[in-house]
């Protein structure tokens, strides 16, 4: 009787083992397509060119990942709030969507190590003579009202005790005011700063340095139980930095000083 039970258990176990699915990494390679969630209204990370084809840092990053896996890349456009639902409903395999690796999100999805960092940059009017973050002391500065950097900058101005902070409605207003000399400097994410300087719509301004505000690290993500794939993504991010591809892509889409992807004095 015991033998029969044991045999039955063995058969059942083999059956389960047989039905256990190959993991997602195998599935992607077998299907020949890597489906990436990318946000396409977030230049320069994701946008569309004149032919309405997806381009941007994230699009290139997805293509690189697909190339490394030896499969074809498929860009699935997902608006910001749709990124994680798209993964959960199985429409995409990986998110390459400038997603901040918050602990709250990590309860739902599994993050790789950061593959990009949004640093805060100081953009100044060339006539003001501001060359660094500390030079802003005593000057009139501004930022888009309500954003993280505006709140931090306003606090900093109060701490300095001199100078003035002016809030603006939109990012474009800030750069227009900066170009016209209404304010001497502003703080914004480096991508936004570089993109606005590059447009040439705002003469006389340049990015002069980094602001010591919190850096927004963003990571690739996939289902949290897919350790095989997450390991692969971690190594892939590492390889991108090691081979200089990260620096190339940063130069191509953003430009300026390359942000570090590691946090000082911490693992991972």
């Amino acid at each position: 009787m015991k033998m029969i039970t044991l045999a039955a258990a063995l058969v059942a176990a083999t059956g389960f083992a047989g039905t256990a699915q190959a993991d997602k990494l195998d599935d992607i390679i077998a299907s020949g397509t890597l489906r990436c969630a990318v946000v396409l209204d977030f230049p320069p990370m994701g946008m569309r060119d004149a032919n309405n084809e997806p381009i941007g840092f994230d699009v290139d990053y997805c293509n690189d990942l697909a190339k490394a896996l030896g499969v074809k890349a498929e860009i699935v456009e997902t608006p910001f709030p749709e990124r994680i639902p798209a993964l959960m409903s199985g429409r995409v395999d990986v998110g390459v969507a400038s997603t901040s690796d918050t602990l709250e999100r990590a309860k739902t999805v599994g993050f790789s190590v950061p593959y990009f960092a949004f640093e805060m940059a100081v953009t100044a009017n060339e006539k003001s003579g501001i060359k660094s973050f500390d030079d802003m002391k005593g000057h009139t500065v501004g930022a888009t009202a309500g954003t993280f950097e505006a709140i931090a900058l306003e606090k900093q101005v109060q701490e300095w005790g001199t100078g003035e902070f002016r809030p603006y409605q939109t990012q474009a207003d800030v750069f227009l005011a900066l170009s016209q000399g209404q304010i001497d400097a502003t703080v914004s994410t480096s991508t936004v700063a570089m993109a606005n300087v590059k447009t040439g719509n705002f003469p006389g301004i340049s990015v002069v340095g980094k602001a010591p505000f919190d850096t927004d690290y963003v990571a690739l993500f996939t289902n949290r139980d897919e350790y095989g794939l997450i390991n692969y993504l971690n190594l892939f991010v590492n390889q991108q930095v090691r081979t200089g591809r990260y620096a190339d892509l940063y130069e191509k889409w953003v430009g300026g000083a390359l942000p570090s992807l590691t946090v000082p004095n911490a693992y991972r």
Binding site: S31, L40, D41, M47, R48, A50, N51, N52, V76, E77, M88, S89, G90, R91
Partner: protein, 217 residues
């Protein structure tokens, strides 16, 4: 004066979106109508009690908003069935059933509107059920049901704008992509509206023409 960054490539992009809208609508209306006819005839033959389970399912398709149906169907296919089927297939399946649910009622109403006395007369002349359906019910019911059916087809065409949630780049989604890039919402929506009009106007006119022609003979 009037300036726009819209290029001819963008217009072709919009036209492709319009083509997708037509494709989704054509497939869904075709399959939906076939299913609707089958269900509508069955409903008449089986009676409301035996047909109740199907009516219940079709009522679900009629009462749950299409957007939610699409999202749920897509999630079901991806998460539960774990199938890698395209968004277009999911969109066509959902829209077909949605069309079928409405078309069933239209067909049922059409058949119901054929006077029972006429049908009884046909049967007493020795016609079989099939002959009765083919030569008596079909011509009469079609005339009655046509206006509602045209309305349904036009409605489905406009409702197909919702299939963007399953990654189908149809006309409205194409327009939104261009709006994001060019930042000219009103002008682009105007063009989008014109495209929709160009698609639906011939269908509406064709329906009007058929109605007029059939009402005379």
């Amino acid at each position: 004066m009037f300036h726009t960054a819209l290029t001819s490539a963008d217009l072709i992009f919009l036209a492709k979106g319009a083509g997708m809208t037509i494709l989704v609508t054509a497939i869904s209306v075709f399959i939906g109508t076939l299913l609707g006819i089958v269900f509508g005839v069955l409903r008449g033959q089986l009676g409301p009690i035996w047909f109740a389970p199907v009516t219940f399912v079709l009522d679900i398709f009629r009462s749950v908003p299409l957007l939610i149906q699409l999202v749920l169907a897509n999630a079901f296919v991806g998460m539960v069935l774990r199938l890698h089927i395209s968004g277009l297939t999911v969109a066509c399946m959902v829209l077909s059933l949605y069309t079928a649910a409405y078309c069933t009622e239209i067909v049922r109403g059409g058949i119901h509107a054929v006077p029972a006395t006429t049908r009884r007369a046909a049967r007493s002349l020795g016609m079989s059920w099939l002959q009765d359906m083919r030569y008596i019910v079909l011509p009469l019911a079609t005339r009655i049901a046509l206006p509602s059916w045209i309305g349904l087809a036009l409605g489905v065409m406009k409702d197909s704008a919702l299939v963007y949630v399953v990654q189908v780049t149809e006309l409205l989604k194409s327009t939104q992509i261009l709006i994001t890039r060019l930042q000219e919402p009103l002008f682009l929506l105007l063009i989008c509206g014109a495209f929709y009009f160009i698609i639906s106007f011939p269908l509406a006119r064709f329906g009007g023409y058929l109605e007029k022609r059939w009402s005379n003979d």
